[in-house]
Amino acid sequence: MLNPSYVGRSLPATQPVTITAQSVAAFARSLGFADESTPPPTYLISLTLPASNSLVDDPDFGLDFTRVLHREQRFNYLRPVEIGHSLTCTVTVESIKTVAGNELLSLRTDVAEEGKSGDEAQVAKVWTTLFVAGDAAMEGK
């Protein structure tokens, strides 16, 4: 079971990651985009997923990643992501809901441009909802 006291808590902002032409081209190519120099709409997942590593690895939080399925994903873009941007990610535990013995964990990641402040820094808000199977669901497998 997840530790409910983490709801509302934010992880420290990640170290800035500079968006390289190489990583954008590889991501675009893997999805078959003809334009390999513009980050595809879902490109930010490659930053936001590792941003929650310290939460996944935190024994006090109690997340068993072998029980996790990706349930929902949302990207809200405030401005385009561009090659050369240096971006930080701040992950917040928005909610934990229990549904029939399983849990739904919602994380929000605020993606910001390093070196700017306030609204100017904001690039995107990204929500990820994970389904964490409870014991009954695991036994049914």
């Binding site: 990583s23 590889a26 991501f27 190519r29 893997s30 999805l31 078959g32 985009f33 595809p40 709409p41 879902t42 997942i45 490659s46 997923l49 590792p50 072998t66 399925l69 990706h70 349930r71 929902e72 994903q73 949302r74 990207f75 809200n76 873009y77 385009p80 695991m138 049914g140 497998k141």
Partner: protein, 139 residues
């Protein structure tokens, strides 16, 4: 050149299909950094209670975004995707021999008062709706 206000609720925009195979999932894993073995290894997928290897939900969502982007270019819209959301309703099972097919169908859900065009995407694989609902908003 089209503009967003040329469209209204219920307009059918496009249907696109994408054949996919295991090699595509390996490439996506490398590019995205998501190396969960249920997307590459049959034994790992079955141990997790799945019928076979499944595509990353984000791979399917990525293909849906490509379908939208290609349509935007095809009709000559000057617009950016401002919001993109999906619920992963069913997994896309990808057998080693046959692969799978992902079909994306798009209709206008709403033209907002501020001029934003909200598109409803139905994404299927075989008989299953795999992304439901999925929505993309262009500005």
């Amino acid at each position: 050149m089209a503009t967003l206000t040329d469209f209204s609720a219920g307009d059918e925009l496009f249907t696109r299909s994408f054949p996919i195979d295991r090699a595509d999932l390996v490439e996506y894993a490398k590019a995205s950094g998501d190396h969960n073995p249920i997307h590459q290894d049959e034994a790992a997928a079955k141990a997790a209670g799945l019928p076979n290897v499944i595509a990353h939900g984000m791979y399917t969502m990525g293909l849906a975004s490509r379908a939208v982007s290609e349509w935007v270019e095809q009709v000559g819209l000057d617009a950016q995707l401002s919001d993109f959301t999906a619920r992963f309703a069913k997994p896309v099972v990808v057998p080693a021999d046959t692969g799978a097919e992902i079909v994306v169908t798009a209709k206008v859900r709403k033209l907002h008062e501020d001029g934003a065009l909200e598109i409803n995407l139905v994404v299927t694989s075989g008989a299953d709706k795999v992304l439901a609902p999925a929505r993309a908003t262009l500005r």
